[in-house]
């Protein structure tokens, strides 16, 4: 099958590549670009571990062909920290609030939370829970993930983070 030429931006860098049309975006990112942050979890569009940010949308990269991303601007977990290695506020938040245990869902969670806070900088707890409803975590029970996103929202807004009373 003839390969297609695609050109896109990934984590701020221009990328050109040849891909088979059937190559899924997640496989392109992991296997051709060696960006192994986005994870292959369920492979059936449910778990959200493969979530990346694409042209201002959170996308499950297992449910999109790389050719569909021609011309797109993509951000993965590898593009979240600053060039000097300092963590993005969401990464810091997940560390501070213990928003992970095994860490498998974390890249998808952080990329989804990133877009959620771009669209809604002051989400309620309910809005956070619905906002990450396409991302499954089998370790934490979500409590600390929600707290981490609340921590990041507070820090981005420049206000002190206060944990809600239990």
């Amino acid at each position: 099958m003839a390969k297609s030429q695609i050109a896109l931006t990934v984590n701020g860098k221009s990328v050109e590549a040849l891909v088979e049309p059937r190559t899924l975006l997640i496989h392109f990112l992991r296997e051709q670009l060696n960006l192994t942050g986005p994870h292959v979890g369920c492979e059936t569009s449910h778990c959200g571990a493969c979530t990346v940010d694409l042209d201002g949308r959170s996308v499950k990269s297992c449910t999109m062909f790389a050719v569909q991303a021609n011309g797109a601007d993509i951000r993965t977990i590898e593009g979240m920290a600053a060039a000097d290695g300092s963590l993005h506020v969401l990464q810091e938040a997940f560390r501070e609030m213990h928003g992970l245990q095994c860490g498998f869902c974390t890249p998808g969670m952080i990329l989804r939370a990133y877009r959620l806070l771009q669209e809604n900088p002051k989400p309620t707890e309910d809005e956070i829970r619905m906002g990450i409803s396409g991302n499954l975590c089998r370790c934490t029970g979500y409590q600390n993930i929600v707290k981490a996103i609340q921590y990041a929202a507070a820090k981005l807004a420049g206000v002190p983070f206060q944990e809600a009373a239990e």
């Binding site: 049309p21 899924l24 492979e43 569009s45 959170s58 050719v67 396409g134």
Partner: protein, 287 residues
């Protein structure tokens, strides 16, 4: 899971797209948001030799008004429906439905046209479009035509679309100002298809139902327009006895499959329960 090999086409106009689909024949499938088709391709339940990506058809995007109708481009995503001001004012039911479809990531890509054209009885928009009396604008190599949603669905994955035709827009007669609406969907978890769901649009006058339309999701091979159930409530104040009769009339037309969501008896009963809730909430919103 790796899909079968295919040739990728990205036309830039409707004429080019329907020309490709006609020329390539049954081996070609249109690709909209891809969130039904790509999972099927990964499971090799679908192995098209050609995909015609509709993402380049810019005039299939957006929401416009045309007289009393709201016209929505087929490639408009559920995420875009949720944020659209025209729809919030004229057909707020669509926001309520969209928020109950799948999850945020899927809604960023999933399109209204794909949802209505796929013919999957689990999709939410078809019954809603039947409830609203919508019609689909369709284009093929032979020209354009318009098909009523209530005449579109023939069986699971069988629709009135001819091979090579695509839905280009969804035309909805805007319900009267002050109408009540609700979409009640029972599902096991976020992202699930409905165990049963009911859409209601009604108008009230002097405490009585002046007009009512009801659609039911995922309780038969096709979405259902529950005409009898709507007749039962017309002219009434939606008292408990009437609502029970309407639920019974709705249940009478259900024939759901048995699946992990429940037995046919349970899912049928839940269709009645969803309708009962939807009628109450629609009434509470009507002015």
């Amino acid at each position: 899971m790796i899909p079968g090999a295919f040739t990728y086409h990205r036309p830039s106009s409707v004429a080019e797209a329907v020309g490709l689909l006609a020329d390539l024949g049954e081996d070609a499938r249109p690709l909209a948001g891809g969130h039904s088709l790509i999972p099927m391709m990964k499971l090799r339940l679908a192995t098209p030799g050609h995909l015609v990506d509709l993402a380049g058809l810019k005039d299939l995007k957006g929401v416009a008004t045309d007289g009393g109708d709201v016209v929505i481009g087929a490639m408009t995503t559920q995420h875009e429906l949720i944020g659209n001001e025209t729809l919030a004012a004229k057909v707020p039911l669509l926001r309520e439905v969209s928020l109950q479809i799948a999850d945020p990531q899927v809604r960023y890509l999933g399109t209204l046209g794909g949802n209505v054209a796929n013919g999957d009885p689990g999709n939410d928009m078809p019954a809603v479009m039947m409830c609203l009396g919508a019609s689909y604008e369709v284009a093929g190599k032979g020209g354009k035509r318009r098909i009523a949603a209530r005449e579109f669905y023939q069986g699971a994955y069988f629709t009135a679309l001819e091979p090579g035709e695509i839905v280009t827009a969804i035309r909805i007669p805007a319900p009267p100002a002050g109408h009540g609406y609700a979409y009640e969907k029972l599902k096991r978890k976020v992202g699930d298809y409905a165990t049963a769901a009911a859409a209601v649009v009604l108008t009230m006058s002097g405490g009585r139902v002046a007009t009512c339309s009801i659609g039911l999701t995922n309780v038969a091979e096709t979405p259902l327009w529950a005409e009898e159930a709507a007749k039962v409530v017309n002219g009434t104040g939606l008292d408990a006895v009437t609502v029970k009769k309407a639920a019974t009339a709705a249940e009478a037309i259900c024939s759901p499959a048995s699946d992990r969501r429940g037995t046919p008896q349970y899912r049928t009963k839940m269709a009645g329960v969803m309708l009962t809730r939807a009628l109450a909430r629609a009434k509470s919103r009507a002015r």
